[in-house]
Symmetry: C2
Subunit: 415 residues, 2 copies
């Protein structure tokens, strides 16, 4: 069983100065992984000819496939395409299909065409052109000395279209790839080292072709088992037995045995029970609501939210009492209890989440420092409140609060 290996090269100064976060590599890795191809190196370099040439040669020396993203586009073509020509010892020619595509896009958008847009349809003669259904820059497929090179634009949805329509099917056909199977268990409420302690005996007996990875994700912990094998069904069956064994060991702390986010876990529970939910958010400002509705089909169980950032809105929309705010403050157990009751009534839902806290960097006091947050979850008959003292920056405090709150709701629904 030979492992088919890929290097991903991303071209663009914006990645090296930190202006852009590279989401393409993760997406590509997931897709390749699903067809049994392993990404073993990812390299990011700038728009510099020598660096591109060197990276291509180095990565081709250690990988079967070199996937290149970025460095294309109407203002970036000047470096990447001539470099590809030099590397593959070829020259630029006009591609009819790519030109038609450029013309069509500009016509349908009613935009005048510029020379630099027409130039986008120039491609190295040695390549097979990959159509871009979502933009003007064509993709390019090269083969040289038994290695495959693919150059694609860095715009995520353009690259994804090319991968799905052309690159992935071609690669699957070209290589006889091993089967890779994953199963993921998500746990909460126990630290990585304690979980590892529980799994010592289990891990020891894992065969060499099955690996366990610990992936902490906010307040949750993902445990991913990966198996490699020649036959997909046999490999999946073997993995399944071990996965269930691991699940038994961690049953009391299991959130889900699927690789899904917590908002999806909560949503599936609500769907299953035919119940609805909503949120009353102060410090998270709609982040929880936005996470719940990021899941397709969430309209079946999610009715709405009252984002009450100002105290007057907490009173007006949710019926929080003025006396409560004055006696306990907006960040208090009493306030989130009233927000919860208000949300259940206002949004006419079975379950609600209410949160109020101080996410920073400012706004803390000695009694209620930055990071103080109160969460309430409940339904018509019961309510649970919890307080956290978070220690991160504003963005992460908000994300952590959302995960904690959704996990509390999950537990309450299961009670």
């Amino acid at each position: 069983m030979d492992k088919i290996t890929t290097s991903i090269i991303t071209i663009g100064d914006e990645l090296l100065i930190g202006q852009t976060i590279d989401t393409n590599s993760a997406w590509i890795a997931q897709q390749l992984n699903a067809i049994g191809i392993w990404v073993h190196r990812r390299v990011a370099i700038g728009d510099i000819k020598e660096d591109i040439m060197e990276a291509m040669a180095k990565e081709a020396a250690v990988s079967d496939i070199v996937l290149i993203t970025g460095g294309l586009g109407p203002t970036a073509d000047d470096i990447t395409k001539p470099t590809l020509c030099e590397y593959f010892n070829t020259h630029l020619v006009q591609n009819e299909v790519a030109l038609k595509n450029v013309l069509h896009i500009f016509e349908s958008r009613g935009l005048p065409l510029l020379q630099r847009n027409i130039d986008q349809s120039m491609v190295p003669e040695a390549c097979t052109v990959i159509d871009n259904m979502r933009g003007t820059a064509p993709g390019m497929w090269f083969e040289k000395e038994g290695k495959i090179y693919v150059s694609m634009p860095g715009v995520p949805h353009e690259m994804q279209g090319m991968m799905e329509n052309y690159v992935l099917p071609q690669l699957a056909q070209h290589f006889r790839t091993p089967s890779v199977v994953h199963q993921t268990l998500v746990t909460s409420g126990m630290g990585e080292s304690f979980v590892a302690e529980r799994l010592v005996a289990f891990e020891t007996k894992l065969p060499a072709h099955i690996k366990l990875a610990y992936l902490p994700s906010y307040s949750l912990l993902k445990l991913r088992l990966t198996a490699f094998g020649d036959d997909k069904l046999t490999t999946a069956a073997e993995l399944s037995i071990l996965f269930h064994e691991m699940k038994e060991i961690l049953l009391d702390i299991t959130v889900t045995d699927q690789d899904i986010v917590i908002s999806d876990v909560v949503g599936r529970l609500l769907l299953e029970k035919g119940k609805t939910m909503g949120t009353a958010e102060s410090c998270t400002g709609g982040y929880i609501s936005s996470a719940i509705t990021a899941i397709p089909g969430s309209s079946a169980y999610f009715k709405g939210s009252a984002v009450t950032y100002a105290n007057e809105m907490k009173m007006k929309l949710l019926g929080v009492k003025k006396e409560t705010l004055e006696a306990h403050g907006a960040v208090s157990e009493a306030t989130v209890r009233e927000m919860l009751a208000g949300a259940l009534k206002l949004l006419e839902v079975d379950y609600a989440i209410a949160v109020s806290g101080i996410m920073g960097p400012d706004g803390g006091t000695p009694e209620k420092p930055v990071g103080t947050v109160w969460i309430a979850v409940g339904d018509a008959t019961k309510a649970v409140t919890v307080k956290y003292q978070l220690r991160y920056d504003r963005e992460r405090n908000i994300q952590m609060t959302a995960v904690y709150a959704m996990n509390e709701l999950r537990k309450l629904i299961l009670e």
Copy 2:
């Protein structure tokens, strides 16, 4: 002026299978850039000894600094630390400070200590230990043959603490770095190639040490000028003149001349004018509200949102008429107009945004396909409505809608 160069090596299978998006590299690059150090390569590899050894040697051959993140932690130590020992020809010893830190963390959290936690305080003898104020895994600083190597945990806030408290000050002291100055202009309403066409003469005359980058970001376009020089003040002055020249050329399409997100642009405008805002969101599910409140201090101008995912909530909270929904549907100009009016009244704000659309993947009809979205922005006296037909996936459709809506509000406020 010698460029000080860094390679970033990230260790961890989770990056190679796409389970985790690498946000550390972007953050590190930004910080290094600010002190004049250039990241010219980023490499991601798995938890494999040979790959780590090889990557360290290769990167040290082309860079002055090798920053390594990941591969540390109570369940991951087994590979990275012994590899570091082999590479630097040293062995593990107990570090007193790191041990005290581990003991302190476990005591303060009331958790029992495990042997694998104690082992986290073992470090290669050849390194200088970097204290971890936010977790149990210590960082490590090595020097070998004139090159600097730093190994840090992959947990973002732990790594960031080490960088800020130790690594960045040490690197700034160690190298005499060139000055790097950036200025960024954000534009809207004109495609990359048309902007480039306007800037042809300007770009042609840019000196070699000043670079212009085009960075499309959702519906906006960022134009970043970067200057390198020996003296910070002279470099900044030279850049400033060119930046203002560029701004003059693009004045009619300029969103902001600062490198800030659109929610921050809107927030600063509101602050300046002493006005307030709120949102009424259907398809974005609180995403716009969450983007606005992600900005520290947003409570000064943001009062709240009604996330009305269900039609009954559009009626109940925002006063959308039943007849309007029946005659035109939830995704219509008439509905967003009524949502806007309802939000202004309910939230008692000066300005509001209202959105309703079909974000996909399901829910489209022949008349209103997936991606149809109506946006309304306005105040007590005027309202502007726009319709978009988006062509992306659910996540991106939501993000695009949010940027479009906030940009429409920005234009309305400036009218």
